[in-house]
């Protein structure tokens, strides 16, 4: 029983970190229909900004997060205006080629500017060290990550399903021409959703930095995992991404605890099985 709870807590924490980083990708892929392979690069930029703000400028953790999110969005705005706007609605291969190109540029620049060493984001005293849960100890920042995941999930669900912006976004995605003729300024809606997705990536990059440390190759190293989460959950579905993260987190963690010598066998077995049964992902929308 203790083993069960122990695995459960780890799985929840890992799943939530995955969720925070991947949900932005789910928004770009599912709602904006852009296969954005530069998503990991934006998460990494967020991590670098937070690390620089907290370590070199000596700002607090909260400020570092805010600065990372805003800074990454500012960097992303010209990219959206001059590069991404050309590939909305373009064939997937075009999108893949351009975004992977951006990723390689970002890796090169990060390597040049910050060097190849690992960068950490110092945690405030309250999030450092272990917390005793009675049956085991867990890192305080993992509890923080779980809380952030819940807030992000609820906030996004509310934004997309319950606000007028969400209505406009869904309308623009489903039929851009019709939405525009009804007075929705689709360009601005797209730019805003892109900024939202990038901001979420940066936020995830900072929150997840304890598990996925920031270094230049971050942008590609974890991209497969993010893509798996989106395809299993169903692109564009927030509950889908959440379920996918928790499920994959649980499978991965359990496998690693009980039979580590199998590696990621069970993780990918589960992915194959889910995509086989649900080709659009768990809660993906039919096109």
């Amino acid at each position: 029983m203790q083993v069960f709870f122990s695995i459960g807590v780890d799985a929840l924490a890992y799943g939530m970190v995955l969720f925070i980083i991947s949900i932005g990708l789910s928004v770009t892929m599912g709602l904006m229909r852009v296969v954005n392979l530069a998503h990991g690069a934006f998460a990494m930029i967020g991590g670098y900004i937070a690390s620089y703000a907290a370590r070199d400028l000596g700002l607090g953790y909260g400020f570092a997060i805010i600065l990372a999110v805003i800074g990454t969005i500012i960097i992303a705005i010209p990219l959206e205006r001059f590069l991404y706007r050309r590939i909305y609605g373009a064939p997937e291969l075009t999108q893949v080629l351009m975004t992977i190109g951006i990723t390689f540029c970002v890796i090169g620049l990060a390597n040049y500017v910050f060097g190849p060493t690992l960068k950490t984001i110092p945690l405030p005293a309250g999030l450092q060290g272990p917390v005793d849960l009675g049956f085991r100890t867990i890192a305080a920042h993992k509890l923080f990550a779980i809380a952030c995941g819940v807030v992000v999930a609820l906030g996004l669900w509310f934004l997309i399903e319950r606000t007028s912006f969400g209505v406009k976004l869904r309308a623009s995605v489903d039929n851009t021409a019709m939405a525009a003729s009804l007075g929705v300024r689709t360009r601005i809606v797209y730019a805003a959703s892109f900024a939202l997705a990038v901001g979420l990536a940066a936020f995830g990059g900072v929150i997840g930095a304890e598990l996925l440390p920031v270094e230049p190759y971050y942008a590609l190293r974890y991209m497969v995992t993010f893509l798996v989460v989106v395809s299993v959950g169903g692109a564009g579905s927030i509950p889908g991404a959440l379920i996918a993260c928790l499920l994959l987190g649980a499978i991965d963690t359990t496998g690693r605890y009980l039979v580590p010598e199998y590696g990621e066998f069970f993780f990918y077995l589960a992915v194959i099985a889910i995509v086989w049964v649900f080709p659009r992902g768990l809660l993906g929308r039919a096109k």
């Binding site: 060493t117 993992k142 996925l212 440390p213 190759y217 971050y218 990621e264």
Partner: protein
């Protein structure tokens, strides 16, 4: 008359060529991509050697040609080595961060009449693949086995090993396990984790449940190490008194700033620490830090490269700049010198470096930086891995 002029011209050309040769050395390593920092360290070690010893040996000038293999890629390494030998006419091959890359090149050496000086790749068997291989780095067996002795000395009865599931990880596990059990200890469990593991919490829980007094770990240096050491602290293993033991790859100097306080007190055994206290090392570190640019990036592959250059210089001296791989390799068999890491020699039988292995503890210096503090020396350690393989 025409013939005479031609003959004279040929004589001048040939004579000129024999007098001041350019001796080319081809260095293969990861200079871009996720392991770029290790390639940078190769270059820093080589540059430091040339800066302190000059680029001339007699009348011959040394020229280094770098070739980039970003990740372990045996086919690409072999192709680049072939290009270096055939097109660039290099007399020596050197570098090689990954074992499979070095292995792929060994079949070329005999025919090409080129010695290979391995500056990092740490699997014991490489030197057996060709009589023209000399290694100036270390082997995972060499650096891991002394840790088992330390564990026994410190009264550890039961240990658990946790390694990344790839060649060097398995080497480290075998080295620790065989030495530890020979000395009367018991390895209660051996965990092999996939290389791509990010979340080490479940592993730490297993370590805790195993009841071991110490955990021996091996992971490739870099991002995974950070997560692993953090998970060790956060899961309360430090408080529970489970001693953390590892070879020095885990606490390489370029990772220490990121590891920070989490690494304090970790015991590692390794052949080189930047903090090693000797005049040779102080001179080396000064030159290498200048070469690499950012002093925080300097780490152990640089010393393998520096000593590799020393061996190549000795080979060039012995052959007088002529291409003769057998003579070159024979000349350095038994060669002993004072390296930045301490006294070393090339074992005439294995052509692997015999060196001191140090027990180190991660400590904090007065200026707030972290370093590997050497607290014990195992003198003149050969490679136990080759003996074990036989």
């Amino acid at each position: 008359m025409k013939k005479l002029i031609l003959a004279a011209a040929a004589a001048i050309l040939l004579g000129g060529a024999a007098y001041a040769d350019v001796i080319k050395i081809g260095v293969v390593g990861p200079f871009s991509g996720p392991f770029a920092i290790q390639g940078k360290n190769f270059k820093a070690g080589i540059d430091a050697y040339i800066a302190t010893h000059g680029n001339k040996i007699g009348n011959d000038t040394v020229e280094i040609l770098y070739r980039d293999v970003p990740q372990a890629d045996p086919a690409q390494s072999k192709a680049l080595a072939q290009e270096l030998v055939v097109k660039e006419h290099v007399q020596y091959l050197a570098g090689f961060y990954f074992t499979p890359d070095a292995m792929a090149v060994t079949p070329l050496l005999q025919q090409a009449n080129v010695p290979l000086v391995v500056m990092n790749a740490a699997t014991s068997a490489i030197v057996t693949k060709s009589p023209y291989v000399v290694r100036t780095s270390f082997t995972t067996w060499q650096t891991s086995a002394p840790m088992a002795k330390i564990a026994r000395e410190r009264g550890v009865e039961k240990a658990i090993t946790v390694v990344s599931d790839y060649g060097p990880g398995v080497d480290a596990e075998n080295a620790f396990k065989s030495t530890f059990e020979k000395d009367g200890g018991k390895v209660v469990e051996s965990i092999r984790m996939p290389l791509s593991t990010n979340d080490f919490s479940p592993v730490m829980q297993r370590v805790r449940n195993s009841g071991a007094q110490a955990v021996f770990a091996f992971l490739p240096s870099g991002p995974t190490t950070l997560g692993f050491v953090k998970a060790y602290n956060e899961n309360g293993l430090k408080e529970a008194g489970v001693q953390f033991l590892a070879p020095g790859d885990l606490t390489q100097e370029s990772d220490l700033p990121a590891l920070g306080d989490a690494a304090l007190g970790i015991l590692t055994t390794f052949h080189y620490a930047i903090a090693h206290d000797s005049p040779e090392n102080k001179a080396f570190v000064a030159a290498a830090q200048k070469a690499i640019g950012n002093p925080a990036e300097l780490s152990f592959p640089s010393v393998g490269a520096y000593d590799g250059m020393h061996v190549i210089y000795k080979m060039i001296e012995a052959t007088g700049g002529k291409q003769d791989a057998k003579k070159a390799v024979d000349a350095v068999k038994g060669l002993a010198w004072e390296s930045p890491r301490g006294p070393v020699s090339i074992d005439p039988e294995t052509r692997h470096i015999t060196q001191n292995i140090y027990l180190r503890e991660v400590a904090k210096a007065a200026d707030g930086t972290y370093y590997n503090k050497e607290i014990k020396t195992f003198e003149k350690q050969p490679d136990p891995g080759l003996a074990a393989a036989k």
